[in-house]
């Protein structure tokens, strides 16, 4: 076959030449070319290899349905596999590689599979590769995996950026052919907010390449004048290079705008692609129709093309596929094709019309057409144009479950009726006459009864007689080109019991390639129907799914990649912590100071020093991440009584109390101290992890369960910077900051919660509570003061050798004290398990009370919190080890519990832990086996009281 550049005409700019490379070889094309058209113009037709048989393949379509001409475009981090050469706009310096071949496209060793193709029928792999068993993973599968797949994806990070955006409109028009243009124009003139989107590089649809006549001008000129008017209107947004890839609930459309794929590298500050979510009050599908291949021997030989694609290439890109072509069709469009191609000086070797009994039995020539064998004998030619009819592009309208409807008259499936929100027009609606397309467009553009007149136009005859398969074919007749599914595979599927259209799809992989059966599915359905003795509508289609065309992951991820995957949440003390040399750790979205190393310290040395200093004199810890919820209203107390399992209505003003919340199923949900600032004003603290969920639960409890209560709540987490000041010198340190208040056990007793001022008027809240077990306070100040106040505390504490301490030290101290936290509040423990059973009030209803009474939740054999320490005190413990009776062999049945939290105790100079242990409170003192198979570490440990350090809490009140 001999493709060539047509001397004149077309929409390419012959004055701008572009250099590009395919498989390392250099070529020249023009502005306005696609990679495919430029290659054809350069007489290159072999562009790819098929999936299973590695057959040589050339371009068959001129658009998104292309199954064969897939290339690896660009290099390095920008390399993309499986890119349709027909959709790639040529740019200077473009570099593309063919794929799925080795060593080269021309000579592909993989092609040997086609020799054994008589074995490699549909589903062959389900029937073999089973013996010997071990061979599957060792030999067969690796071979299959290597052979399968198409292009090779890059493993380097993508250097380009992506964006997301929302759009809203009264009318979304999908497709900018005559129907779409007419709809957009009509609606726009009526003042509606219109979005006109088309996946093509230019708007105009088929008018960019078909010779039509509208309103006395050429179809192309008409389209340009319409576009000019649309562009001038405020209420219209034109979106070329934008594919509507899916239709979703609420009439929301997903769209991909290829902002910079037509250039080598995006301009600075511009994304490569932009993902749109379009909220449309109404939408029209003007997506056009897809031409179907005919199914005959050798219909995959490079040079066999869809007739419309051949017209598209020559009329728009001035790239003729051959010098002498045969036309094979079952409908009137053959006329169009011969007229157009003749006009380009192409010889029409033959027009073979199935309606007149014409058949192509085989196409000869390996990597290009040399001649065809027909019912009338051999005919030499160098390309074949085929037309098997037209399938309206119904995809989007079926994305929400509706099935398309078979129409015998046009031998195609038409879109279903899905309501007024989304209607089809033009050939997408099965209207194959231009006049119908324009009329339908005008009708859709205005929902009113008075429809504006549409310009006069020339209608091409459209008559078709279904023809599905040249049974007498010599050689393979392909249905799904990319997956190498042949016409014979479908009857085989039916024969073996896979006759349901969905089973046949899965068994033969028909329609599962990157083109999703855009070309082949209807042929497949027809052949399957015949083989199963059913009609086409009885057989029906497979399910249409997003994405209409594949969408890059990058577009869906948008800017939320790498470090920007999720927002960073910083505490009000962040700057202070940085000054103090903090090492930070991700805690949910928060960044928390984890430890504050001095020169040469690792985390353990640092945290141990922090603990020792805090317990010896005083330390400062940022606890701002704790959830804080302002709860007000005259029923605030009653409300809290229902949220917590213990009582808060009786809490006296100026006091804090530790509270425990259950879920309705009786399991512990969250804990924290809640303080009463006034008769009708409480402030609740939650754990960092559960802050958001607690807030939602509060809202649910009030708005759903007890709306009669007069209570208001709002998160004040971010309003307050909160600092724990702990240690024997905590009081002395804080004394220096507080305004005219002497801190002592009378003025600020244990569990006091007071609103005070510090540093000459800064409002603050002072809580005398302790997580560390030390004499401690929590001081809250408005967030913007946080850094300054923290610095002031450090200054005040300097004389005592105050240290900042982080969450590592915090957790060492809480484990020394046996305070439960995340490791124990794991969503499966009860108040009893945590040793807090006594907190559960019996005087009131509260969330979780009833379900907490179930046998399984009060069973004494449940695992409850105990302390644990290695018998060999010098040994390191790790969390996650399971506990066994010394006499028992390892097994799940014998499992007695596990270690939830461990820490090195700087005070006791040993590793300590908290464990959940069956009937644990009754078993203090027992020696157990710790099973840590994961790290191959088994040892014995002693179960003990969870409070390892200062059991009498003397330090707390010191």
């Amino acid at each position: 076959m001999t493709g060539f550049r047509i001397k004149n005409g077309g929409l390419i700019d012959r004055d701008t030449s572009l250099n590009f490379k395919f498989d390392g070889k250099s070529f020249i094309g023009h502005q306005g070319d696609t990679l495919a058209s430029a290659l054809i113009a350069n007489d290159v037709h072999l562009m790819g290899r098929s999936f299973k048989y590695h057959r040589p393949r050339g371009v068959i379509s001129a658009g998104v349905s292309e199954p064969n001409a897939l290339v690896e475009l660009r290099e390095g981090g920008r390399k993309e596999a499986n890119t349709r050469a027909t959709m790639v706009e040529l740019y200077d310096g473009l570099a593309a590689q063919s794929q799925n071949r080795w060593p080269s496209l021309n000579f592909d060793v993989g092609a040997v599979t086609s020799l054994a193709s008589s074995i490699f029928v549909a589903g062959f792999y389900y029937k073999t590769f089973m013996w010997p068993k071990s061979f599957w993973e060792k030999i067969y599968e690796p071979l299959i995996r290597k052979a399968a797949g198409l292009g090779t994806a890059s493993k380097q990070a993508d250097p380009d950026t992506y964006e997301k955006s929302y759009a809203h409109c009264d009318l979304l028009v999908v497709g900018s052919g005559p129907a779409g243009l007419m709809a957009a124009l009509t609606a726009a003139r009526l003042g509606a907010r219109v979005i006109l989107a088309d996946e093509g590089s230019r708007l105009g649809g088929s008018l960019l390449f078909e010779n039509e006549e509208i309103g006395g001008q050429s179809g192309y000129d008409w389209s340009q004048s319409v576009l000019a008017e649309l562009a001038s209107l405020q209420n219209v947004t034109l979106m070329p290079r934008t594919t509507i890839f899916g239709w979703f609930d609420g009439n929301i459309f997903g769209a991909l705008e290829r902002v910079n794929d037509h250039v080598a590298v995006p301009a600075p500050f511009e994304p490569r692609q932009r993902y749109w979510r379009i909220h449309a009050k109404r939408a029209v599908l003007a997506a056009g129709a897809e031409e179907r291949p005919l199914v005959f021997g050798g219909n995959d030989v490079p040079g066999v093309m869809l007739a419309s694609a051949m017209r598209h290439c020559s009329n728009r890109y001035a790239a003729a596929a051959g010098k002498s072509i045969a036309i094979f069709a079952n409908n009137d469009s053959s006329l169009r094709t011969s007229i157009d191609m003749k006009a380009h000086g192409v010889n029409i070797a033959a027009v073979i019309d199935t309606r007149k009994g014409g058949r192509i039995l085989n196409v000869k020539g390996g990597k290009g057409v040399s001649y065809i064998e027909t019912s009338m004998g051999k005919i030499p030619c160098d390309a074949v144009a085929m037309s098997g009819g037209w399938s309206p592009i119904v995809n989007l309208m079926c994305h929400r479950g509706a099935k398309p409807i078979w129409d015998e008259a046009i031998a195609a499936f038409k879109p279903p009726d899905v309501g007024a929100e989304f209607t089809a027009i033009g050939s997408a609606a099965g209207h194959m006459l231009l006049s119908e397309c324009l009329a339908g467009g005008a009708r859709a553009g205005t929902m009113k009864s008075r429809v504006p007149a549409t310009p006069k136009c020339r209608d091409e005859a459209f008559a078709i007689q279904p023809f599905w398969w040249v049974k007498e074919s010599i050689g393979k007749a392909f249905i799904d080109y990319q997956n190498d599914a042949t016409a014979k595979d479908l009857p085989l599927a039916a024969r073996e019991g896979y006759g349901h259209v969905e089973l046949a799809k899965r068994y033969t992989t028909t329609g599962m390639a990157t083109d999703q059966g855009k070309l082949g599915n209807v042929n497949a359905i027809a052949i399957l129907a015949e083989a199963s003795g059913k009609s086409i509508p009885e057989m029906g289609t497979t399910t249409f799914r997003p994405f209409y065309t594949p969408v890059s992951f990058g577009a869906f991820a948008g800017p939320f990649t790498g470090h920007h995957f999720q927002p960073v949440r910083k505490t009000p003390l962040h700057d202070w912590a940085v000054e103090q040399g903090a090492v930070f750790v991700e805690t949910g979205l928060w960044m928390r100071s984890s430890w504050f190393p001095e020169a040469g310290e690792d985390w353990l040395a640092s945290a141990s020093r922090e603990v020792k200093s805090a317990r010896a004199s005083v330390g400062l810890c940022d606890v701002s991440t704790l959830g804080k919820i302002d709860i007000q209203g005259k029923d605030a107390g009653v409300f809290l009584d229902r949220l917590y399992c213990n009582t808060f209505s009786t809490l006296s003003i100026g006091k804090a109390r530790y509270g425990l919340m259950l879920r309705e199923d009786g399991i512990v949900f969250d804990d924290g101290t809640t303080s009463r600032l006034a008769e009708d004003h409480y402030v609740m603290t939650t754990t960092t992890a559960n802050a958001a969920r607690v807030m939602s639960n509060i809202e649910f409890a009030h708005q759903v369960h007890w709306p009669e209560l007069d209570v208001q709540y709002v998160s004040v987490t971010e309003q307050w910077a909160q600092m724990a000041v702990a240690g024997p010198k905590a009081r002395a340190t804080l004394q220096k900051l507080v305004d005219k208040l002497t801190l002592n056990d009378e003025s600020v007793p244990y569990h006091a919660a007071q609103e005070i001022t510090i540093m000459g008027g800064v409002e603050a809240r002072l809580f005398r509570i302790s997580f560390s077990g030390e004499h401690a306070y929590e001081l809250a100040v408005p967030a913007d003061f946080g850094n300054a106040v923290a610095r002031a505390i450090m200054q005040a504490g300097a004389e005592f050798g105050i240290v900042p301490y982080g969450v590592e030290a915090l957790s060492m101290m809480r484990i020394e004290k046996g305070h439960v936290a995340g490791g124990e509040l794991n969503g499966t423990t009860t108040a009893g398990d945590l040793g807090l059973g006594k907190m559960m009030s019996t005087k009131k209803d509260y969330i979780g009370r009833k379900m907490a009474q179930r046998d399984g939740l009060i069973d004494p054999m449940r695992q409850c919190v105990v302390g644990i320490k290695p018998v060999d005190r010098t040994m390191k413990m790790r969390s996650g080890g399971h506990l066994l009776k010394q006499s028992d062999a390892p097994s799940m049945q014998a499992d007695q519990g596990y270690i939830c939290s461990v820490a090195w105790s700087p005070m006791l100079n040993m590793w300590l832990g908290l464990a959940l242990f069956s009937n644990g409170r009754a078993r203090h003192g027992e020696i157990v086996k710790v099973f840590d198979g994961l790290r191959g570490h088994h040892y014995v440990a002693e179960i003990c009281d969870p409070v390892h350090f200062d059991p009498k809490n003397e330090r707390l009140h010191a």
Binding site: E137, T561, M851, R854
Partner: protein
């Protein structure tokens, strides 16, 4: 006809004209000893094992659509036995053992591929939880390895280690975990059951359950009334619906879970990997597509499709884990209807109606369970007592408070 390289060669000589159907399409009989509702993986496996292990011949499987049209035919195909609760692990390990011999057993290549399942962790707390889980597995001799960051980097150097919002700290690896060709599981069990006399009735929807003084004695279907002695529900996402026909109300909500496949690629990712700082798990099918998924959409649904926010949520996590994915394209998305139970664990049990059995509540974890679910359900139906590895899957556990909650999320189905 036995499947083998030999039979394949033999048939190729006759142009593959002589293959017989993998299963018959019989007319429903008037009566069966056992009717199984649901031609998914579990229903077909149950029929297969009832016939093969318990010698039952007179069995029908009712499938309202085509076999495999439900979740078995649309899942992300991950199999593993890395559970931590004593009520779960032995069951899933039995399933793993059955997978390991399945293909030779039912003479169908289901491409069981033990390519390894790696769960990534990004915090110390996650690592501790993995340690607890891994050791639970070791207690019963199940393989598990705790990897540090460098070991993970070794396996998958192209993940994001240096610019990540939530740095990878390590992972829990089960090498025996992997993937199985989903459709082939349904087809293999169906063929195996059919060979042993089971009637597989496609396009046959259960529309009513006939009870006679508290005992099942037949069903109504879209293909007429059929009598039966025992009725075994196995309808996954539709469990509440079929159970309601017998007046039962289940601790289950139906939710939609989406899954996705990318364009076909040359080998890109060796095993199965799950992200720990977002919802994303991925493996590569033998055909070359990256098969991936994430979280359920979150609202009750019986539609086999979801919406864009979850697509974005899942793919944001994917690219966060593997930056080079940005250039890969998502080819197709779909959904399946999940039977989300109130504690995230399944139910295999008798019901208050005599002769009526229930297999449900698999959430998005029931594919890996397919063989064991069939095995234990068959045992329950045949012997009227739970199999010893499935004793924790009883329905009354919610009343007695013996929930089986691996995630600790409580009675909130869309959080499991």
């Amino acid at each position: 006809m036995k499947y083998s390289l030999f039979s394949l060669l033999k048939n190729s000589l006759s142009g593959h004209k002589n293959w017989t159907p993998a299963w018959r399409s019989p007319e429903p009989k008037k009566e069966y000893d056992i009717i199984i509702v649901g031609g998914g993986g579990h229903g077909l496996a149950t029929a297969y094992y009832l016939a093969k292990e318990h010698g039952h011949k007179n069995i029908a499987v009712l499938e309202k659509n085509y076999i495999g049209s439900g979740n078995v035919g649309r899942n992300t195909t991950i199999i593993r036995s890395n559970y931590q609760l004593p009520g779960n692990n032995p069951f899933y390990e039995l399933s793993m053992k059955l997978w390991e011999g399945l293909e030779q057993d039912f003479n169908f290549n289901a491409m069981v591929s033990q390519r390894g399942v790696l769960n990534l962790c990004h915090t110390d707390a996650q690592r501790d939880a993995f340690a607890r889980r891994g050791n639970a597995m070791h207690l019963d001799g199940v393989d598990a390895e705790l990897l540090d960051r460098e070991a993970v980097r070794e396996m998958y150097p192209f993940f994001d280690y240096d610019n990540a919002r939530f740095p990878i700290k390590g992972g829990l690896l089960q090498r025996r975990g992997g993937t199985v060709r989903h459709d082939a599981v349904a087809w293999g069990f169906a063929r195996g059951a059919d060979l042993r006399g089971v009637d597989i009735l496609q396009g046959c929807e259960l529309t009513g359950i006939q009870t006679e003084n508290g005992k099942v004695d037949g069903v109504q279907t879209s293909r007429g009334a059929i009598k039966c002695k025992k009725l075994a529900l196995c309808a996954a996402g539709h469990s509440s619906e079929v159970a309601a026909m017998a007046g039962l109300k289940l601790p289950i909500e139906s939710h939609v879970l989406q899954a996705f496949v990318s364009e076909g690629l040359k080998p890109y990712i060796e095993g199965v990997v799950t992200f720990g700082a977002g919802h994303f798990y991925v493996s590569q099918s033998d055909k070359g597509g990256l098969v991936f998924g994430g979280d359920i959409d979150g609202y009750n649904s019986y539609a086999q499709r979801g919406n864009l926010p979850m697509v974005e949520h899942v793919i944001e996590a994917g690219v966060a884990m593997i930056p080079s994915l940005a250039r890969v394209r998502a080819l197709r998305s779909w959904g399946g209807v999940m039977d989300m139970s109130m504690d995230g664990s399944p139910i295999i049990d008798k019901t208050s109606v005599h002769g009526l059995y229930l297999n449900a509540g698999w959430c998005y974890g029931g594919f890996k369970a397919t063989p064991a679910s069939g095995w234990c359900y068959a045992h329950l139906i045949a012997k009227d007592e739970p199999h010893k590895v499935a004793t924790a899957f009883r329905l009354h556990r919610f009343r007695t408070g013996h929930m089986l909650d691996e995630k600790g999320q409580g009675a909130t189905p869309n959080l499991h």
